[in-house]
Subunit: 411 residues, 2 copies
């Protein structure tokens, strides 16, 4: 945790990746983020990867640094408690984030009765409020047809739920922007965000939509090349592989120099009537350029090869599996201040990241693990809602709230 | 533009995707974002996709809503002007964002002399300050080996520069968080962010690192299945294709019901000793489940098929190319309030997105196109730096600043 946002409090009712990662971003920057869940856990509480005890590494990874309150919000009393929590008074409170439907007791007008300057951010699947997931959004965008070699017109899905992660960051931005405005105008507001719109907007920002509308371009899959410039993977003699990129003039010259192909590539450019000082022309000549470069990579082992790339200032990256990343990459270890080895109750000790932003005027505390479900129920009811010990006990007895439930819940 | 951040000013010196998209996010939320560039344009000014006149759709898409000042910052006078601009006084100013090296005239201590409470965010490739691009970061993470069917151990790159986009959102969050803190403490600060750290942190947040460290799991590529739950693509009789997901119980039941496979799948579960009410078990039985479901999809055309999916409440998405998305999807048209058809000077009229966040307490103005390079040079020098017309003229004559350069610059 870094304390750049200390003092700010957000209540979160969420599931899956996007909304929880938005809340976690704010928690890792020092905000007090309170996630509420049903007593047995929400719909994402057993999401894979899980341990052999069916504890979710996924859930715990996405809820680091939050507090947890477990409430039966099918009951009217549970809803009343959460309504109080969401709309609790205070200048730095009154921010609510959810991907649950903004209907019934979670309708904006229902909550806003209790706090007029509430900042309420609601994430939906699409703009009509229908459900959509990263995978059903991604299929619509055309990217799976541009992935890989495009053999037999078979689309290839992205294993990274990129839209979820990007939406999570939008959520953090939306809350911070609305809170900034509230401080200046006194006004709260309802903020809407649809996962599908995040993806569509990004396709516009990256020029995909313009390329079709202005150029009538129907892009084809190009394997591991980079669109519009020079970049591709190359294999070493011992089966290693590197990604090489020559976007800038310096990067491009470094590639030619280290592979000793400056003259041969210049000759190729003349033959193809292309000017490889222009990155677009490097793209047009990419296959022929790669044929010239391949032998240099294929004729030596990975270690000496990458040492030369490094010395020559080539922009390169090694291909490795996730297991290799974890086992051997110093940047994925406590050598990198980004990471700490933390004990996650219920899971065990493993490497957990901070938020990658690093602030010189904020104190950097330890990475905080995820809460156990219901771990902070009593302290939240006492400290924020001001309930007495006997009142809290009554809610427990009635099954409306719960602390940590031990043992394994199947799901 | 929405005016939720109106009043805030950020100066940006940037190139490529991450830093420009961070600035654009703030610009589309109403901040005054001033991008400075060399007089002939920066390293990304001709990045593909380009028009037939070599105008970059990419550059213009990533700089919507900003102001542009063109300055020769190889000259001492140009550096002095930009230093003044970056450190100009005012409560809502003094925020600087760059992915240029924080060295020389852009060293934090050089700039901070002029404004002690400057908020300076610097994006680097990796944490050591070395260059890295989305593609060279992605190869290290293991995701290319988990993409597609994994035939012959060939990694497949992601055509979406997801890490750049995610880093851009982190940049916006970092600036807003630091500005919030400055308002409360009076302190400015230097904020560091490395593209590689953004990617590594995300791998941690999504459970990839924990799955290796806790479970010793070496994931294999699984084609278009979703890890840990039920989801895959299915082909229709007429060559259409849909992505189907059954994460929640409701989604799963809807799939079984619409395909009329409830009983057959229950029988399969018994045979495999799996409980398909558990999403992890659905994942373990994914291949066998798909065999049962496939005929329903393969025996009908896409239109009636998707109508039934919709009616049954199945969570699904259609596969389409980018061209089909632009030509036929109502969400990628002005029917969606996210988009407007805007004339981009230099490029033409095409569909441009707003920021997908929608605020009820902020006025929604039109989507603003990108500036022409140098379009706002004179007004910025006059209004922010207080230069007189004759002083501005002298800078022009000396070639230190420039307005819009007409004609085509090759690059």
């Amino acid at each position: 945790m870094q304390d750049v946002l200390s003092g700010l409090r957000i209540v979160e009712g969420s599931a899956f990746v996007a909304a929880p990662s938005g809340g976690m971003t704010l928690a890792q920057l020092g905000a007090d983020v309170i996630r509420f869940d049903p007593i047995q856990g929400g719909i994402d509480y057993r999401r894979w990867p899980v341990t052999e005890n069916n504890e979710s590494i996924y859930w715990h990874s996405l809820n680091k640094g939050k507090r947890s309150i477990a409430v039966d919000f099918k009951s009217p009393e549970g809803r009343e408690l959460l309504t109080q929590l969401i709309t609790a008074p205070g200048d730095d409170c009154g921010l609510f984030l959810t991907n649950f439907p903004a209907k019934g007791w979670l309708a904006d007008e229902k909550l806003r009765v209790h706090r007029e300057d509430l900042i309420y951010l609601n994430l939906t699947g699409d703009r009509h409020g229908a459900s959509a997931l990263d995978y059903t959004v991604n299929s619509r965008l055309g990217l799976p047809y541009l992935t890989g070699q495009g053999q037999a017109n078979e689309p290839i899905n992205n294993p990274l739920p990129a839209w979820d992660v990007i939406a999570g960051q939008h959520i953090a931005i939306g809350l911070l922007a609305a809170e900034r405005q509230r401080l200046r105008t006194g006004k709260g507001q309802f903020v809407k965000l649809a996962l599908a719109d995040v993806a569509l907007a990004t396709m516009g920002h990256l020029g995909y939509i313009g390329d079709v509308m202005v150029n009538q371009m129907a892009r084809k899959p190009i394997g591991n090349h980079i669109y519009g410039t020079f970049g591709r993977d190359f294999k070493s003699r011992d089966g290693g592989r590197v990604m090489i990129v020559g976007v800038s003039a310096n990067q491009w010259q470094a590639i030619l120099k280290v592979t000793d192909q400056t003259e041969a590539v210049a000759k190729l450019g003349k033959k193809m009537s292309l000017d490889f000082d222009r990155e677009g022309d490097r793209y047009l000549g990419r296959e022929e350029i790669c044929i010239l470069l391949e032998p240099w990579f294929a004729n030596q082992d990975l270690a000496p090869l990458t040492a030369q790339l490094e010395a020559a200032g080539v922009c390169w990256g090694k291909y490795q599996t996730v297991s290799e990343l974890v086992a051997t990459d110093p940047d994925c270890s406590t050598e990198n201040p980004l990471f700490e080895e933390i004990n996650q109750p219920g899971i065990g000790t493993y490497l957990m990241p901070q938020n990658p932003l690093s602030f010189t005027a904020a104190d950097r505390g330890p990475v905080r693990p995820a809460p156990r479900l219901g771990q902070h129920t009593d302290e939240i009811l006492a400290d924020i809602l001001g309930l007495s010990g006997s009142e809290i006990g009554r809610y427990h007895d009635a099954g409306i709230v719960s602390g940590i439930v031990s043992g394994i819940v199947s799901g």
